[in-house]
Amino acid sequence: MAISEKQVRHVALLARVALTDEQVKSFAQDLNSILGHVDSIQQLDLDGVKPTAHPLDSINVMRADEVRPGLSREQALKNAPDTDGVAFVIPRIIGPGGEA
């Protein structure tokens, strides 16, 4: 199934990446070429085969719910692009001018 440029734009929005028109064209080409190869999976008889999400059999590893040391506020904010000293600062997301 070929991917159109329209689909590429939709996927880019889902993935939260801004693409130029040129990139939309080249990613459409790349994705079609890669998915063309990947389609060889359809040659396998997969009816009734159970999916594998994870190589080991372990599920739901639990530990005691205890308080443990974590990052300090200072450490957590250390690499932030913008902070007010106590929190991450981002553009306004509600109210006037923010409809995202």
């Binding site: 929005l13 939260r16 990947v38 692009p81």
Partner: protein, 507 residues
């Protein structure tokens, strides 16, 4: 001693010299740092050097030795297993006091706020952390050409790639800048550069080594593993970093055996006699496998037969579909893992966002390189409404068949032998314009990650036409790393491969 006399020693050789008092750990640290200074302008293995961390670790070793001598103790008992061994760390492993960039503009200048368990264990075992190694951006690639920062050159031929994504970790060990290093392997990112640089390179069983503090790519595929110039050194490093970690729920609580003892058992007389070796003959005729690589693999099988092992053909009918399954599952997991890079808590942020959506979208397109965006797009598409079953669902089922192939094979065999990479090291630019051609570089390594098995690349020979190293891959059953090291050491002794190129890379 001359510089290259330190840098050519094995990890055990360095430790022995330090224990005996022939030289200090500090001297070894300086020798490694000076070698890097002289050669890294050409090799380009490192994104960041950490001389202060290496010197502090060396002083600790020298102090421990002095203390043991003062108190009349045997320094051999007082010093840890990797005492004074210079080490490189792939730049996707967090370590306090270092930047962790994943060779991406997105994380340029990111300072670690905690330690990766494997890196911490390596240092606790006495290793000297000399720096962070270049890689394909976020580990997406097989040549290290996708680094946002620099080219890493193959020490065997500086016009060629070192492989990837752990290309810096491979090149620093191969060129003798350090003795050991850590890389991460999601589809072959330790083993393939190992083969291309003539180094011993290990991907442990999924769950054997903690992934805590490793920047995640494919969470059901990623494992950290060592590079070294001998099987015994690689075994020593794996023993140091393996084992349970409560900070990684996929890290299993199974005792860590003495892998070096297993390697030594392999070189003893009759070390592999009766070992059942499966030669994956079908895979040798896959498209794109070079004749020299095929011959080296067949010769490896002959070596095992000559050592008394039972060599037979093994069928892995679904393995050829591994690449297809991987290029759905890997990107799907990566697209989820990389969602965290949103320009809010860390990483690159666009300078003039109009609103939060614009902040996310442009911060990500500015911070990520083209291959990262390609994988995110591929993964997002494969997980999107309407396509999930056709792609992700089918790939997960194919993964089951691949795993079953191996499970069946290990009823009859102790190890499986394949090439590591279909070709020797290729030239810069040879595959970088065609994503699919680059993906094919991992055709032999990918099925192993999908199944979660342990495997390693061992240098076999030099390609007769190019003089470049060829590696063979030894795959073992789940948590059967001892069998793998035993087989690898036996092969290494007969193959007599010299793990360092002759060239001088000083400027």
């Amino acid at each position: 001693m001359r510089l290259d006399e330190y840098t050519r020693l094995s990890a055990t050789g360095l430790r022995r010299g330090i224990v005996a008092g022939d030289f200090s750990a500090r001297e070894v640290a300086e020798a490694s740092l000076r070698t890097i200074e002289a050669t890294d302008g050409v090799i380009g293995a490192f994104n960041q050097l950490t001389p202060e961390l290496a010197r502090a670790a060396a002083e600790k070793i020298d102090e421990a030795r002095a203390q043991s001598v003062r108190s009349g103790e045997d320094p051999d008992l007082a010093l840890p297993p990797l005492a004074g061994v210079p080490a490189g760390l792939k730049d996707n492993m967090n370590l306090l006091g270092t930047r962790t960039t994943c060779s991406s503009r997105m994380l340029e200048g990111y300072e670690s706020v905690y330690d990766c368990t494997a890196a911490r264990r390596l240092i606790d075992a006495g290793a000297l952390p000399v720096g962070k190694c270049n890689m394909d951006e976020f580990a997406f690639g097989s040549s290290t050409e996708n680094s946002a920062f620099r080219l890493t050159r193959n020490p065997w031929d500086t016009e060629r790639v070192p492989g990837g994504s752990s290309g810096g970790s491979a090149a620093c060990v191969s060129s003798g800048q350090v003795t050991i290093s850590l890389g991460s392997d999601t589809g072959g990112s330790v083993r393939q550069p190992g083969a291309l640089t003539g180094t011993v390179a290990v991907k442990p069983t999924y769950g054997r080594v903690s992934r805590y503090g490793l920047v995640a790519f494919g969470s059901s595929l990623d494992q950290i593993g060592p590079f070294a110039r001998s099987v015994e050194d690689a075994a020593l490093v794996l023993r140091a970093i393996a084992g349970f970690d409560s900070a990684d729920s996929t890290c299993v609580n199974i005792p860590v055996p003495d892998y070096t003892a297993a390697a030594r058992a392999g070189i003893a007389d009759g070390g592999v006699s009766g070992l059942k070796v499966g030669l994956a003959t079908g895979l040798l005729h896959a498209d794109g496998c070079a004749a020299e690589v095929r011959e080296a693999t067949l010769k490896a099988a002959d070596i095992y037969a000559s050592l008394g092992a039972q060599v037979d053909e093994v069928e892995l009918p679904s393995a050829t579909h591994g690449l297809s399954a991987y290029y759905i599952i890997g990107p799907a997991e990566a697209s989820s893992n990389l969602a965290r890079f949103d320009g809010v808590r860390y990483g690159h942020r666009v300078s003039d966002p109009s609103d939060i959506l614009d902040l996310y979208m442009r911060s990500r397109s500015e911070g990520f390189g083209p291959e990262v965006i390609r994988r995110i797009m591929l993964g997002t598409y494969a997980l999107s409404a309407g396509y999930y079953d056709a792609y992700y669902g089918q790939a997960q089922k194919a993964r089951t068949l691949i795993k079953q192939d191996f499970t069946r094979a290990f009823c009859d065999f102790d190890i499986i032998l394949t090439p590591t990479s279909p070709t020797v090291a290729f030239k810069f630019g040879e595959k970088s314009s065609d994503p699919l051609a680059m993906y094919l570089a991992d055709i032999y390594t990918i099925p192993v990650n999908l199944a979660g098995l342990p495997a390693m690349s061992v240098p076999a020979s030099l390609c007769p036409s190019t003089g470049l190293p060829i590696g063979v891959q030894i795959i073992a059953d789940y948590f059967a790393e001892e069998t793998m090291f035993r087989a690898a050491a036996a092969f290494e002794r007969v193959a007599e491969f010299k793990c360092m190129p002759a060239g001088n890379h000083s400027q």
